[in-house]
């Protein structure tokens, strides 16, 4: 009868189980489903236990104390069935999360694996102990009821019976524990495979996949952090792509080859420390016999300085269309720039040179910029084109001062550069400095403007060795023919 009631209980629950699980488990979030499966399965088995115990009590009249001992069997079996079905659900969840590329977040309040292991081990041991104690207790009370004269005759049978019962309990529990270990190892394998698989893809540059966040334990935390890293990498790559596009645009804003002026050979180059930079140089035809050469350096570097640089370029390009002289041009650019950038705190140093081939005059404005270097091949002397002036973008009413020299000899070399060149450092922290720049100009003075410029950059790179550029560098070399 007991077997029939037990089978009836399990049969009934088997029929309704699917509908209960659909309501309780399937409707919850993926990450919660394994936990819900565990509790639902456990409660169902306990209900079967209570059903059988009460059926035995009311129909057969089995005392409730015996029924409670029987119920312990349901507690034990329920525990193992629930864990196994919960692990099975976890596998389902992992598969579903993989299909959906599930990207949930596991917070700091996750359920650690160590706690799960501890609870399973503790409960398993307690169950083994309780069941064995119950069996031994029952056998001892049975022995107590035996006629003392026949105890010696029966001891052999009793030992055999106890040994058989304990072996049976241990074998049953062993099967259940092995099943759980096997089931859990399958889950671990799946979790490791998904994590390492995605990490391998990331290593190969494929950021399209995310790790499914399917468990609320350390694996969930690792998956969450891996996904955060992948999102971060995606953002960085998106940003780099945009910066490279900005770089391409900015490269087109600088003159890509020297203009074809009659009496001068010119070469210029900018090296930016980031994708985009704040340095700018340009050449302007200011009339039949006049050329203008500008080099500007906006404070800071990167995107902000790059945007500033494009503004300055627009002001200069627009200003030279109605060129009335150096000072009016720089004043006008300064006025516009101060209005635009005063609030930002950004400023721009400028060296603007005007060469008049008819009068053989060189006029310049030095607004907070490095002085240009002028090498005279006849005397082998190096002059500095100095002059007073504040950086642009600071004072709207700044008075612009022009400086002037008259005449030049053939082969004179004039180099305008931004402070990034002079201040570049080698691994020892030593600066490239003005002395080295002067020496290179002197050494290559007889060569073309491009050769001088290329050698300045080559020597700078040799000097810097493994150090990276920390500020934008721009060089414009003008050689008088």
């Amino acid at each position: 009868m007991l077997g029939a009631y037990t089978s009836l209980g399990f049969g009934l629950v088997f029929i309704i189980r699917k509908f209960i699980l659909k309501k309780v488990v399937e409707t919850s979030a993926l990450i919660e489903q394994a936990k819900r499966q565990f509790f639902t399965e456990y409660i169902l088995v306990l209900i079967i236990g209570l059903f059988v115990v009460f059926l035995n009590y009311f129909i057969i009249g089995v005392p409730l104390t015996s029924g409670m001992v029987f119920f312990i069997g349901f507690i034990s079996f329920g525990f193992f069935i629930s864990i196994d079905m919960s692990l099975e659900k976890e596998r389902d969840v992992i598969k579903k999360a993989m299909e959906k590329s599930q990207d949930a977040l596991v917070t700091r309040q996750f359920y650690p694996l160590t706690r799960k292991f501890f609870i399973v081990a503790l409960v398993t041991n307690l169950m083994v102990m309780v069941i064995i104690m119950l069996i031994i207790g029952r056998d001892l009370s049975w022995l107590a009821d035996i006629d003392p004269s026949s105890v010696n005759l029966m001891l052999g049978d009793v030992t055999k019976t106890i040994f058989k019962e304990i072996s049976f309990i241990i074998a049953t529990l062993l099967i259940l524990v092995i099943n759980i270990l096997y089931s859990y190892s399958k889950n671990l394998k799946m979790l490791f495979q998904t994590e390492t698989g995605v990490l391998e893809s990331v290593t190969n540059g494929d950021l399209s996949q995310l790790v499914p966040v399917a468990t609320n334990d350390e694996f969930g935390v690792i998956a969450t952090n891996t996904n955060k890293m992948i999102h971060g990498l995606r953002d960085r790559i998106r940003m780099l792509t945009r910066l490279n596009m900005a770089k391409e645009v900015q490269e087109n804003l600088l003159p890509n080859k020297a203009p074809d002026f009659k009496h001068v050979d010119i070469s210029g180059k900018s090296l930016y420390c980031e994708e985009v930079g704040g340095d700018y140089f340009d050449y302007f035809n200011l009339g039949e016999n006049k050329v203008g050469i500008a080099l500007t350096d906006s404070s800071g570097h990167g995107v902000g300085a790059g945007l500033h640089m494009t503004t300055i370029r627009a002001f200069f390009r627009y200003g030279v269309q109605d060129y009335k002289g150096l000072a009016p041009l720089i004043s006008s650019v300064n006025k516009h720039l101060t209005k635009d950038s005063y609030e930002t705190g950004r400023f721009t140093t400028v060296f603007f040179l005007e060469i008049d081939f008819e009068t053989k005059e060189i006029n310049w404005v030095r607004a907070g910029h490095e002085p240009a270097l002028m090498y005279h091949p006849g005397t082998k002397k190096m002059d500095k084109l100095l002059g007073n002036g504040m950086a642009l973008g600071v004072d709207e009413d700044m008075v612009v001062q022009e400086s002037k020299i008259q005449g030049w000899e053939k082969g004179t070399v004039l180099v305008i550069y931004s402070d990034g060149l002079k201040e570049s450092k080698n691994p020892a922290g030593e600066m490239f400095g003005e002395k080295r720049i002067s020496d290179i100009i002197e050494e290559y003075a007889s060569s073309s403007a491009q050769t001088i410029e290329e050698n300045l950059i080559k020597d700078l790179k040799e000097f810097m060795q493994s150090s990276s550029i920390e500020d934008d560098i721009t060089i414009v070399v003008i050689k008088f023919l």
Binding site: S7, F10, G73
Partner: protein, 38 residues
């Protein structure tokens, strides 16, 4: 028709149904035996 209905209700889209069936059968057998003992 009946076979189809049984399949639809119990086995469609749920891989763990056979697993729980095995668990229940095993549990019913062992518990019946154990219950008889206690």
């Amino acid at each position: 028709m009946l076979k189809f209905e049984i399949n639809r209700v119990f086995f469609s889209g749920e891989s763990n149904l056979m697993r729980i069936l095995l668990h229940y059968v095993f549990a019913a057998l062992i518990l019946s035996f154990y219950g008889g003992e206690v």
